[in-house]
């Protein structure tokens, strides 16, 4: 049985939807492109909202439940918008042994956010990573995309503080 893949209207005329469509089309709009397409959405928009999930579901002819199931299974995907700045603290074994908890505690103390949360003013999101693979430089963190290794709590706070007022 051939499935008819009709045209799907993007939710808005935002150009970024074209990029999402391109990813889906590159995989022949096959259901197996779900994760790849969600990656593109997150790259373009920063997170996956309901509109995006519905669009991807209709684009790939995947049931809504499955889209939501996949989006929530993989921790790389986030359904909430991130803050203007992000700090990812690595909680891999080497970093744990060398004091990643202290980094998290310091940020929590200064900004009042736990891993996975964003400050009320939308300035900073705190995330954790399972392992950045920079174990040789433990403890490590990523501040706005740049990896910082062998960092102590004061230095990390200073680094974050550069862009934000606490």
């Amino acid at each position: 049985m051939q499935t008819y893949l009709g045209p799907v209207q993007p939710p808005t005329d935002d150009k970024r939807w074209k990029i999402v469509e391109a990813t889906a089309r590159r995989h022949g709009r096959e259901p197996h492109a779900l994760i790849e397409t969600l990656h593109t959405v997150q790259e373009c928009f920063g997170y996956l909202d309901e509109t995006a999930l519905r669009f991807v579901a209709s684009l790939l002819c995947v049931p809504l439940g499955r889209v939501y199931g996949v989006a929530t299974f993989y921790h790389f995907f986030t359904l909430k918008p991130k803050g203007k700045h992000t700090c990812v603290v690595c909680t891999g074994t080497a970093c744990y042994i060398k004091g990643a908890q202290a980094l998290l505690s310091a940020i929590e103390k200064t900004y009042g956010i736990k891993p996975g949360e964003t400050t009320a003013d939308g300035e900073l999101s705190l995330l954790t990573a399972r392992c950045l693979g920079s174990c040789g430089l433990a403890p490590a963190a990523v501040v706005d995309g740049a990896v910082v290794g062998r960092i102590g709590a004061p230095a990390l706070l200073a680094r974050i503080g550069k862009g934000i007022r606490p």
Partner: protein
């Protein structure tokens, strides 16, 4: 592409490189990159240009040199010099004294066990070649194995070669690679797939990342040889989204190989075609399990399914599928080039070849090492690793990540091979090796791994989903000093239950860190429940209590 064409490319590249008097290699793999190696490279390039030496000095970014703790690393190959902790400000000094070789920079002694005790097969090009240039790889014997295999060998011959080499899966379980290839090759003529498992999820492991970042063509070549041997037409590399540099290098490498006709249709004018595509993981440890990985490539939740049927018979889209890990594929080309006997001569009777380890934690030299199988843990930690820093005492080494165990002092002389590590309750695993000293509490470490397993459990089967959560709760109770002997008994009961009744490897091995710490560090558990308490755990509790105030 013929073997002659390949030789021409290699020769041209060598000639082009020879024109330069000095070769300066800057490590720009992830470790050094996070200490600013890209700025160092740019600064050196700028200095070279300003000194008008652009025709004499070749500056290239290369992959991992191993000693991540001393990064950024810069080597002047022609002078056999290695500099550590180089900053952009050091660039002028380095370039100025390049002719005399007397740079006043922090030298890194290469005549130490860290470098001398290693034996490199997988990492032979790592830190030497520019990972973004296929010509550099070809000039170092690259793709010779693939072209030879396709033009001079039959698929059964290659499978036989792999069987004879004794290579075993480097992903952790150590299943004989040749046997796996042979199973897939015997499934008859039909659509088949080759998958490279680059979902390196173990916390504390970065071997595969380094290989992909430093020498991506080696993995592609291994996959292509495997595809030819088992009769597959398509391949996927399933790589973590957390490794953007590895993804970038892989994408470049695939394009270059396709351009030269080393991937794609009718490779070497034969009937063999092989296409490789990249799939990004999305942060799920369980996707390192092969059936979960397949589900993920199919765009589904990464939940494992019962085996049999094994992926070799029914894998991706129900087609026979060969899944090997990055390091396994990286071993393939050297075996084809040098022969099975050469490979089988390295290592121990049952574990052949070398193994790459990511050495991290409380050890002087952290970084990436490759050692022959059979070396002892003591040699790795105290000689190559340079021992425990700050005058502290060794306590344990954790191998195999959340599925492995903690090995105490009394087993340090145990050789590193699949069977020996299993005998002392741990596993080889993918190669993470984390050293702990007296400042680590082993119950706390067990709790850390249990937290990991509980939150990485896919939730499909009951024992893993709720059993790990129950175990975590007990471990939290123990570290809080609120547990009794009855809790400890319950913990042991749960270890047995989860190990024997879980659906996949994640659940079946989740109790390992608890089991080994209970076995070797039972006194620490006793101290926690005796009311005496644990100073390390108390300190942890105090610092988090401070936050909540």
């Amino acid at each position: 592409m013929t073997i002659e064409d390949l030789r021409t490319i290699a020769e041209n590249e060598r000639q082009a490189q020879k024109k330069f008097q000095h070769h300066v290699c800057v490590c720009i793999a992830a470790g050094c990159l996070s200490s600013g190696a890209d700025q160092v490279r740019d600064a050196i390039k700028k200095e070279v240009a300003e000194a008008g030496m652009a025709g004499e000095v070749l500056v290239k970014g290369v992959g991992c040199m191993g000693l991540c703790s001393a990064g950024p690393l810069v080597s002047v190959e022609t002078e056999d010099q290695l500099f550590a902790n180089v900053t952009p400000e050091d660039a002028s000094e380095l370039v100025r004294s390049i002719d005399t070789g007397t740079a006043d920079l922090k030298h890194c002694d290469t005549a130490v066990p860290f470098f001398e005790r290693q034996q490199k097969i997988v990492l032979e090009n790592s830190g030497k070649i520019d990972p973004e240039r296929i010509e550099d790889y070809i000039s170092n014997d690259g793709y010779r194995a693939l072209v030879t295999a396709i033009t001079e060998m039959t698929p059964p011959e290659i499978v036989a070669l792999m069987v004879k080499s004794g290579l075993r899966g480097r992903g952790g379980a150590g299943y004989p690679t040749g046997l796996k290839w042979s199973t897939v090759s015997k499934t008859g003529e039909q659509a088949k797939y080759v998958i490279c498992n680059a979902d390196e999820g173990d916390p504390g492991a970065f071997m595969d990342r380094a290989v992909l970042e430093s020498d991506p063509h080696r993995v592609l070549e291994g996959m292509a040889i495997a595809a030819y041997a088992v009769g597959a037409q398509n391949g996927f590399i399933y790589v973590r989204a957390e490794y953007p540099l590895a993804v970038k290098h892989l994408k470049t490498a695939i394009k270059q190989a396709e351009r030269l006709g080393l991937l794609g249709n009718n490779i070497c004018n034969s009937r063999f075609s092989f296409h490789v595509d990249i799939r990004l993981g999305a942060g799920a440890f369980v996707c390192g399990e092969e059936t979960a990985l397949i589900a993920s490539i199919e765009g589904q939740r990464g939940a494992p399914r019962p085996r049999p049927p094994y992926p070799a018979q029914e894998g991706l889209w129900n087609c026979p599928t060969l899944i090997n890990n990055v390091e396994t594929f990286a071993n393939v080309a050297p075996i084809v080039r040098n022969g099975a006997a050469w490979f089988a001569a390295i290592g121990t009777e049952k574990s052949k070849g070398t193994k790459v380890f990511a050495l991290a934690g409380r050890v002087a030299n952290t970084g990436l090492i490759e050692v022959p199988m059979g070396i002892t843990l003591r040699e790795i930690i105290h000689e190559i690793g340079g021992g425990i820093p700050d005058g502290k005492q060794y306590k344990a080494v954790q191998t195999g990540g959340p599925s492995g165990g903690c090995i105490p002092e009394q087993h340090l002389d145990s050789p590193v091979d699949y069977e020996s590590l299993a005998r002392i309750g741990s596993i080889m695993g993918s190669g993470g090796m984390i050293v702990m000293d007296e400042t680590s509490c082993m119950v706390d470490v067990a709790k850390y791994f249990m937290e990991f397993c509980a939150s990485e459990s896919c939730g499909k089967c009951v024992p893993c989903r709720t059993g790990t959560r129950q175990m975590l709760a007990i471990l939290e109770k123990i570290t809080a000093g609120e547990a009794t002997a009855a809790d400890l008994a319950l913990l042991e009961e749960l270890c047995d239950l989860v190990k024997n009744t879980s659906l996949c490897g994640l659940g079946q091995s989740a109790p390992n860190p608890v089991v080994t710490t209970l076995k070797y560090f039972h006194d620490e558990y006793d101290r926690h429940i005796s009311g005496e308490g644990c100073p390390i755990c108390k300190e942890h509790a105090a610092s988090s209590a401070e936050v909540s105030q």
